[in-house]
Symmetry: C2
Subunit: 150 residues, 2 copies
């Protein structure tokens, strides 16, 4: 992706898939010990006895791996700012051994009323595992410049 | 907080404040190097030259510190499941040296149509810094059991 990207460059329905993040058990346990030390995130034996049947990844760790993939891809490099996230859900667990990727679809583009030179792009985003099942979904709202008039 | 908590135990408007998470620069840089390596998260000199005027915390690291505070507090210990998050925003930066806490207000309780024994509690949540300014806000949706009939 080279050169600036403007609001007008995003077409509704345009979809890209990017990223490749292998989920390692060591990293899952390390993250969860620090931030989300629930038995089914940090203790393999307890996780196997739980209704999850094995270790699952903290939802916030999945989010962190997503933001790493976004950084590596440069998807929002020409954005002015990330505004926030709506409808964040985790439809199924992420597990050690999964290979994650990102699927991002342009859902809406809307010029700002308050600033004629900016607008918001809404990306419907799905984090997928290696079976292309969604493990996390949300809408991401990002501020982009509008194309300057010639 | 002892004993089970049921949907009926949550009163609209009830508010609690909990948690105390000191934000250290070392931790901020370590997290961001791994998951969100933008200059204003990982490079103090670059951050000082940026419009932020100094290092700021990855929004996803603020989220991770929040989930640690939730775990330590046990606020959702009797929940059946976390369902997701809506309207996630970061109204101002978190910075190294900040001391974070959580303010959680019961916004809505709604019995599930599909399962008479369960319901959803929506917590309007604000992560606050030491000046009690919100650095992150969202609605958290949590599934709780309903009180069994006598």
């Amino acid at each position: 992706m080279s050169g600036p990207r403007y609001l007008e460059d995003f077409e509704i329905g345009a979809c890209e898939r990017f990223g490749c993040y292998p989920v390692s058990e060591d990293e899952v346990v390390e993250f969860a010990r620090r931030y989300d030390p629930q038995p089914f995130h940090v203790d393999r034996a307890a996780a196997e006895r739980s209704h999850f049947g094995g270790l699952i990844v903290s939802g916030w760790h999945t989010a962190a791996m997503y933001i790493r993939m976004i950084n590596d891809h440069g998807a929002t490099r020409h954005a002015l700012a990330g505004l926030g996230f709506d409808d964040m859900r985790w439809p199924r667990p992420t597990r050690p051994g999964d290979l994650l990727s990102v699927e991002s679809t342009v859902k809406a583009t809307s010029p700002l009323q308050s600033r004629a030179d900016r607008g918001i792009v809404t990306f419907a985003t799905r984090i997928l595992n290696q079976r292309l099942e969604a493990v996390m979904t949300f809408d991401m709202l990002v501020l982009f410049p509008r194309r300057p008039r010639a």
